[in-house]
Structures are given as C-alpha cells and as structure tokens.
Symmetry: C2
Subunit: 236 residues, 2 copies
Amino acid sequence: MSDTAYPVTPRNKVKRLHERGRYDRETVHAILDTAMLCHIAYVIDGQPYCTPTVFWREGDHLYWHGSSASRMLRAQKPGLKVCLTVTHMDSLVLARCGFNHSVDYRSVMAFGTAAIIDDPEQKARALSAMIDRFYPGRDATLRPSSVQELKATMLLGMEIEEASGKIRAKGVGDEEEDYALPIYAARIPVHQVLGEIEPCPRLMPGVARPEGLAGFTPGRRLDEVMTETAALVYAE
Amino acid sequence: MSDTAYPVTPRNKVKRLHERGRYDRETVHAILDTAMLCHIAYVIDGQPYCTPTVFWREGDHLYWHGSSASRMLRAQKPGLKVCLTVTHMDSLVLARCGFNHSVDYRSVMAFGTAAIIDDPEQKARALSAMIDRFYPGRDATLRPSSVQELKATMLLGMEIEEASGKIRAKGVGDEEEDYALPIYAARIPVHQVLGEIEPCPRLMPGVARPEGLAGFTPGRRLDEVMTETAALVYAE
C-alpha cells in the first residue's frame, strides 16, 4: 500500500510550482512522519479556522486529540471536512533579486473528513498508541488513564482521502544573468533541534531515564528523531 | 496602539484551556514577529485548505505573497476570510500519565479578510519591505525587480480584525498524587536554530557577507533572530 500514490484531483493537485508536487504514499508518509505538530484547517459557519495540534499517522489514518470543549470538536460531530498540513522550513534562501528569495521546505496537505472516536476502548488504545509512537515503549511505564481522563479526551481521526507533498530543496536559484552580479547570495539552513532533557524536579529518587528515550539526545534534529521512532513503531 | 487588546468575540475567544489565552497586542505581535512561516486557512466551495507561507507584520496588517497561479489567490479576488496561524513548539512534555503528556508552545490565530494588493508601486514597496524585514538593509543591495517579476508576484494582505495568542510554558504538570509514583517525567526543549550559512557557490569573487546578516550566526534560534530583525525595522 505504501508504494502506491494518492489520487490527484482538483483538490490536492499542486498548482503553484507544480513541478514540486509529490503524490506517492512513500514521500507523503515520510514527510508526515517527521513531524509531531500539524495545522488543521476547518470551517464553521463559513469561517475558516487554523488550529495547531499534535498528530500521528497509522497507515492511511491520521489522529489528533483535544479537549471536548474545543470549538472544532463540538462542531464536527457529524464529520467535518479538514485539511491537515505539515511543514518543515529547511532553509532560508537569499537570492540576488527580491523575486527569487525563497525558503527550502517540505510540506504535506492531507484532505479528509474528521470523525470523533467515541468508543472508550478504542480511545484508550489510540492514546497508548500516540504515546508509544512518539516515545517508544513509554506507555507501559505510565500510570494508566482513569475513566475520567478518557472521557475528557476527545480523539479525532480521519482517513487520508487525498494528499499532496511539496518539496523545495534547491537553495539559491537565480536568473542565469544575475549570477554575474556582485550581490551576496546564500542558503541558511534551519533545523528544529532538541535541547538538553530537563528531568522533572519532583522525580522520585532512583528513577532513571528510560531506554526508549535514548534517541532524544541534545542537538539532534526533531524530524530525524520522529522518523526514527516512527520506523521503530511501524515496520511497514 | 500596541498596548491595547484585540476585541474578544466568539470567533477568537480561546475556549480550550482558556487560561492560556492572550488578547493584548503586545503578546500577539511578539509571537507573530518571532516567525517567518505561518499557516493560512481559507475556504473554497466549502472545502477548507491549510497553506504554509512566508508572512510578515506591519502594525495591525499581515502580508504574504505567492504566485498568481495559486488556488487561494484566484479565489479570493473579492476578499476571502482567512485565519492566519503561527505556532512555535517550545518543548515536549513527558508526564507520569498519558493524559498529561503535552507540549509547551506559543501560538497566535489572527482573523481577517485577505485582499489582493494590485497596485504595482504598492507591490514593489511591500516586496522591498518584506526583504528588509527579514534581512535588514538587504533590499538596497539587490538587483531591482523587473516589471515582469512584479506582475508575477501576487501580494496579499489583511488587517487583523481579531486575534488570540495561546501560551503553554509550564513543562511537566502532573496530578498531585502522581508525583509520588516512580515514573520518569521530563521536559525536552525544542528550538528552531540556524545552521552554518552556505554562500552561493557561484558568488562573484570579492563579494562579502553583508553587515545586515550579522545576526544570522550558526546555532542561534530563528525566533530570536526574527524578533531582533523586527525590532530593528519597526521601532514601535
């Protein structure tokens, strides 16, 4: 399944700079799996909202969660159209004219219909899956969720109906004649990196850092850690 | 003006974890000015889209640009409702139960009506302003934009009608009784940092890195550099 492509429709077809568009599951999933944060667009009474949230992927399904109080969740009981977008800005691109200034990036727009996952068992399983997807093996070490906590957790999911990836990774791309101009041009890489882990000050004595967090070392790129943990959890 | 608050309406009122909500211009502008990338939600024929793009702020106005080919821009000639969102994920929060796992973050949702800026002079001025906002003093060093390039640039802007900021910065927040459990808990900071500048391989001999890029040193946080350049450019 992961070697096939998503259908290309007017909704997900990359129109601007279409040569940057990718529709194969391998590329789309790889970009989704580099990230913990996404932005979700949805519409309530004609008004668009763009909400940041933590999400994860299982096959062709995307999941995210939030409190039952939130505006999006209350409105989408019957199923709400959403566009879930993930973006990595990989570098700033300083060209020899304003027009060619740009950024290198990897992004995915995934389209689907969000549904609430109400079944308590399914919810508990998904919450555990989320923890383990980000922090391998962690869920079994935690205090189990209470009935109250599960009730207060609103879990949403959608099947990816269509998706498109978009990648720019070329650095400076100037007009041929502009390269002869005495103007400074450069690519400045940008990475999301981890800092030094700060153990909770109220940690009980003798509680060591679990093995599953071995990959979370200071200075490492978060997108690489996320890719690594996804590969550990989902052997596709 | 910057010491006043945005109106709080049903549209921008923070409902989920409302104690995290901020409406004062100072906080909202500060979060917007840390970023180069935003995500914009808009609706076309009932379908929501969430598009990542580079943006910048001038007072209560936000600007972003793209090619005239893009789906959003073609649809929004008469003015399109948008929600422009900026998010920084500042840390991963590993708690003692699944429910309290979280992330520290700063985010802003800004609501307005996007309009195309068609006037060529206004467009040229805004394009220059964008370059200088990110790279102080850079615009004057560039090959000027051609008429063709200006025509191919679609510039959009909106006044912020309403906005809300949301901040979580507390690290681990467990239930009081859970602190006594022998479970590992921690905060893992995440920062977007600059890498080593890579000058264009086709740079003309003798072209030095401009003074205005002095702040873009390897290892620095992008949000801090953006805040610094915004302060240089806009002395509010």
